[in-house]
Symmetry: C2
């Protein structure tokens, strides 16, 4: 377009607009190619034989018939891979089990064949002889004196010493008991604080097993090239960490491992660790000298992908009559399952909520994570915070009730403010917490409804109405857990002013491609369609620590902005030189370089790019940027400002409780989130709505039933996800606290919306019925029994170490 | 490794070493996945129906039976794509022919089906009615007055005006004759120069059809995403040019076209233009809403991929008795075939040889390119230079003989030197031409053998021995033909000091990945294995004009060095800061930062990278660079220094001619190339050896036999490539003229080695037999007839326009 034809271009911002996700058309059209759809020439198909016993010694494995089946290329057992090493957060987990199985998911053998069907048939031909061992089905049993040991020796594989260091400095496996991890945290003087308390409450809470239920089940393709370099097509959320880990595992230089991520059908934290199937797939590819693809069935996904960690939690909380919190003492007992993955580290996030959601002068937190023969827990959106918030936010209501204070006023009195530094060392540079509480309360008419529900409870029929509130604090500016929490960006403009944004940050469905494009376009005055995002290949993209801790918008966003601003500076300098004007007076808008003050176009950006490129002193605009947040690692006492920013929210849940059936219907959720600043309003709403529904499932319907080590409902008929008709009305609003470090002021919000729902629902049920339920989920049976005082205590026993 | 353990690291260079090609293990293991191997989920397979007549009107096309065949998804004819536009260098070529076919390769219909077999079966069901037109089978016939017109109207498709501009400013199609292009070049005063000549020779030469014979036949996969963006998996040598061209073609923004290059099984110039099959594949994908793959059969590759352009050439050359060249006058008549591709522009390269290989005061060059009903010619390694050199270098021998001067002395007397500016404006900044001649001559014992062969000719038996020399000049520093001749590079180092080199320059088997890696490693003191090259995706890589004109090492090499030097500067600055030493005193060697003078290690580079990354002021080393050579566009008189450097070579060919059978055996090739500087000695030798064999095929065995428009030998049984047993002994040496602009002093050499062989062979046959043969190839029949004075004149007629 000729500049002369172009009228003055007004300043316009993409920030806060509703921007369609860049991957939406492909996904809506069913054209997205997940790992399930991928075909690598020459690839084989693999299946895993899992244990049929919960806890047993393996006496023998006979694979001869499987090996003889036509179309079978490789059959592997532990004996075939003497170089296998333990994986997992505590390096306590051999991918192929040769001597002992510790849970029903345990991998005993694997087959690579010409088709899935042949591989499946081969599994049926493998004969395993077991000798059963006593099953430890609960953490309470695991810590009983004299309990059989689940890991009797540090490592039982081939008697070799453990060669890889554990992923965290905390020692896990190999203790002469079933304790996988134990730690203590404290700030303030608990004894004195308790002495100063007017009211103290103590309760135990039981949190159950749920699992991620990603629509895209786990899968991987592994292949080695002719030089022995490994290429993994993997759904991992942390490609750069896994690149290094696989290299360590294979004892090769990390440059020889390349991870390409196909579009990922949901992560939610489930893809933060290395799991046996990935390593087994590598072994199969190595043995077959062919690419090998392994994709879980849905049943396998339920049985062998990680879970949210079950917790028994005893909370003791105190306050003064005036509503000032005094102390909080917590003991948690975690069911680690048979092996240690990230679930074992969720207490570190729970701790933040205990220590810092509200101002509390003294906090004492003791945690114990124990091995059982149950499924093992990984990381899961919210990462312990759902469990902690479930307990704390019920106690907030209970304390308020005890001192006769309105639950809102009680929360507001103790809520954090900007500028505060907590006992754990978190520094709240931006904090819209109080505004979240008041906004959610006002929009839901909480005060009136809460009082009315109590006043009119008995006058109502068998269906009681209730309203409950809960609040949350979560990291919103990354979390400095690894040596670096940063992200790199490479940006190039082409001859048509289209941008390639090469970012380390992965898209796992959360919309990061769209938000990053938006941030770049905001700097460069371009439409979203001008950006192509490259984000799925460790050989191409700069480093990023991975998708976790609600960090991508904040960290990768700041990185993308950094690269875009460098590009903008180059562009304006070139325009100023070419068109003989003052660089500082120029801006980029609507695909043009304009005079900032008037909006008068100077040159079309695409034309300028070609001028730059097709000249004697030819140049392309290419920039790079690396962003590392100003957060710090926690010290040995778990203190330190671990995130560059913190997200806040309050959610009000309204329910109808049918006292005759125990059925709880969630009718409305009113949520207010301090997101720093709204970037993509549409994406943010989607993120919040999805999180609310996930929280709703956690509260009401989802329950992975594990009985004596056996998962009883590994399918979508018996494991009940919330479906569209049950989704409540939602009223979602945002507090824009304009975080000083955040990209355009924004903070991370990926995990936040799932966190409060169960806690708020518990408070709402209590508001409706006067009955408080301390265990999840609120199934009709559980609620029915609770309403009749028949809750089976052993299902949520008080627990505290001696 | 601990620095303390590391001894002093001596300076070492990779330059001039023998470095294995990075892609060799995959290729040798048969693991490389060419487009033939690729499977895109949901893809269809496509085939093209080609004309069964050489020149005809199409009366009707009936596709109904093909459409009804089960498994057929789409059948297209010209009538189904009313938006098709002409392609090709002159925009004279509609992909699907609806009204007229002009050669046997012409595309009439295309089918996309579930399998190749179904598509093939569907083709057989398509009925086409033709009305034959007179065939023009030679350029001589095409320019006869009153010859039927091959393009009777500017464009016969739907009567629409031509909407895309031609690729070159020279007007081609639509003239009221069969002439596709005509131009004239001159420098100096021909008449005066001829008057001053003591000797003048004039001969006509006939150059034949050969074709590239890439081991990987042509193929493409086209697909549109849900937003209508086009992704092409394409073997093109010029992805960025084609991205733009396909976008123009589809009338969409170039950002919506992405080209990914699978490993390419040979290019040699054949993949520089867009061909109908590519556009047809796009049409099929658009209609099917599915990915569509189209791969040629070998027969199709012979029939429908481009050829080297046949030429009738009349050369008139003069010199003085003292051996000084006086003038050169040339007329060339080119068989364009039915459509215009790059073949039509090869005269521009021929011109350089005529005007500038030797110092010649006057040069006059007239060329005419005419349409025929024959296959059409594209670009092909050497790009006209084989044809020009074949004529010139025979005349050099003939002139020398006429004035009784040794052919070597005659060449040396007229050879260019560094510093010279030719009549066409080329400036030879580095020039090892004379050293090439003397080295090749000395190493082959040329003078003695040449004299002996003449002296002993009659004394020998029926098998005569001959030796011949020829020289060449070719661009060696790119060629400024497009608005830019540059290349961009993005470089990143990871935490383990491994490098990702993102370059615009494609690998087509020539070894560019290896040489570029080497140049980067030379700067950064790393082993070749430390580099991963990313070079095959227009969405990721920065711009490059493409693989042609022997430019990649020079242009992309300088670009890679630029990025690597920026990285080195960052690294040394960081090391100096961290280790408190003088940046200028540091160097990079063997994976370490060292004190340059002593070689004493300061810090392991990988460790420094991690220190940089895992620090509060975290950083990654990422750099970008764009290199544009200092060459200029030619002016309207074809004058200008079009390349940043020029390559030189002399090749001595030795033959045995069996005078009883006409069989010519090439026994030895002694070649000396001015390559500026040897970078990868192994790669360079491979490049030279391959080129020599290609030249040998051109000289002796390869001949695409086209009779009356029909290609008679579209297969490897009848089209004779040189095979291993026939390959001569080779003695390859290099002159290192250390080009000032070249990367580490190097110049491009990709095309050079094929250029002189046929010319030197002609001189060798003359040396053996006393008979000079002016046409190619030197088949037994042709040689047998020539030795008996029975050469069929019409096979190489004298031709000159009136």
């Amino acid at each position: 377009m000729n500049v002369a034809e172009k009228p003055v271009i007004a300043a316009a911002s993409l920030i806060g607009q509703r921007i369609q996700k860049k991957d939406a058309p492909e996904k809506a059209a069913g054209k997205t190619r997940y790992i399930q759809d991928m075909v690598v020439p020459g690839m084989l198909h693999a299946k895993i034989l899992r244990s049929s016993r919960v806890h047993a010694k393996i006496k023998s494995i006979d694979t001869s018939a499987a090996k003889a089946l036509p179309g079978v290329h490789v059959v592997l057992t532990a004996a075939d891979v003497p170089d296998q090493q333990p994986i997992g957060v505590a390096r306590d987990h051999l991918p192929l089990k040769g001597e002992r199985v510790r849970s029903l998911r345990d991998e005993i053998a694997a087959v690579a064949a010409d088709s899935d069907e042949i591989a499946e048939a081969a599994l049926k031909l493998i004969r395993v002889e077991y000798e059963d061992l006593p099953v430890i089905a609960s953490p309470e049993d695991a810590i009983k004196p004299g309990a059989p040991l689940i890991h009797p020796t540090p490592l039982d594989a081939h008697g070799r010493p453990q060669s890889l260091p554990p992923k965290t400095p905390i020692a896990f496996a190999g203790k002469p008991d079933n304790i996988a991890m134990r730690f203590d945290y404290t700030h303030g003087d608990i004894a004195q604080a308790e002495a100063e308390s007017d009211v103290v409450v103590e309760d135990s809470f039981q949190l159950h097993y749920v699992t991620h239920c990603c629509m895209g089940v786990s899968g991987v393709i592994a292949e080695f090239d002719a030089s022995g370099n490994l290429l993994m097509y993997s759904n991992t959320q942390v490609p750069f960490l896994h690149k290094r880990e696989f290299a360590e595992y294979l004892n090769i230089d990390p440059s020889r491992v390349r991870i390409i991520q196909p579009p990922i059908g949901g992560g939610f934290g489930s893809k933060l660790d290395i799991y046996p199937f990935e390593v087994i797939c590598i072994f199969l590819a190595r043995a077959a000298k062919r690419p090998v693809k392994m994709v879980f069935t849905r049943e396998e996904e339920f049985l062998a992908s990680p879970t949210r960690q079950p917790v028994l939690l005893t909370l003791r909380s105190g306050c003064r009559k005036d509503g000032t919190l005094t102390f909080r003492q917590v003991h948690t007992l975690h069911d680690n399952g048979a092996y240690t993955s990230w679930g074992a580290t969720t207490p570190f996030v729970m701790m933040q909520t205990f220590s810092s959601l509200y101002r509390v002068p003294a906090c004492d937190y003791h945690t114990t994570v124990v091995y059982t023969n149950n499924p093992y827990a990984g990381s899961f959106r919210g990462y312990g915070n759902l469990q902690a918030t479930f307990a704390i936010e019920q106690h907030m209501d209970m304390l308020a009730e005890k001192i006769g204070m309105d639950p809102l006023d009680f929360r507001l009195k103790n809520a954090q403010d900007a500028g505060e530094v907590t006992g754990q060392g978190m520094t709240f540079k931006s904090c819209g917490f109080k505004e979240c509480i008041t906004t959610a309360a006002e929009r839901s008419d909480y005060r009136k409804k809460h009082a009315d529900n109590i006043a009119n409870r008995n006058a109502r029929g068998p269906v009681k109405r209730g309203i409950g509130i809960a609040s949350m604090l979560h990291v919103g500016g990354g979390a400095k857990i690894y040596p670096s929490d940063g992200c790199g960006t490479i940006l190039k403009l082409d001859d048509f002013a289209n941008v390639t944004l090469i970012t380390g940050a992965s898209e796992i469905g959360q919309g990061s491609e769209t938000v990053l494009s938006q941030l770049v376009c905001e700097e460069l005055g371009l439409p979203i369609s001008a950006v192509t995002v490259v984000n799925n290949d460790t050989a191409i993209t700069p480093w990023d620590v991975g998708v976790h801790a609600s960090r991508t918008t904040f960290i990768a966003g700041n990185s993308a902005i950094g690269a875009a601003r460098k590009a903008k500076a180059k562009i304006l300098a070139a325009a100023a030189k070419k068109h003989d004007c003052d660089e500082a007076a120029l801006d980029l808008r609507g695909g043009f370089v304009v005079v900032a003050e008037t909006g008068e176009p100077v040159v079309e950006l695409a034309r300028l790019m070609r001028n730059l490129h097709f000249s004697d002193k030819a140049e392309l605009v290419m920039t790079t940027f690396y962003y590392e947040p100003p957060s710090v690692h926690q010290d040995k006492a778990f203190k330190g400002d671990v995130s560059a920013a913190y997200a806040w929210a309050a959610q009000v849940v309204e329910v109808e409780v049918d006292t005759e059936t125990g059925i709880v219907k969630m009718t409305k959720v009113t949520g207010t989130h301090d997101v720093g600043r709204v970037l993509n309003r549409l994406g943010l709403e989607g993120q919040i709505e999805g999180g609310v529904v996930m929280g709703q499932g956690y509260a009401l319907t989802e329950n992975l039933i594990v009985e004596n080590g056996v998962t009883r409902n590994p399918n979508f008929r018996d494991y009940k996800l919330v479906t569209a008709p049950e989704i409540p009305e939602m009223d979602i609003t945002f507090v824009e606290s304009m975080d000083g470090e955040g990209p355009q002021g924004a903070k991370g919000v990926g995990e936040a919306p799932a966190i409060c729902i169960a806690a708020a629902a518990a408070n709402a049920i209590h508001n409706a019925t006067g009955v408080r339920i301390f265990g999840l989920p609120f199934t009709p049976e559980a609620v029915y029994r609770a309403l009749r005082g028949k809750s089976d205590k052993p299902h949520w026993p008080a627990w505290k170490p001696e």
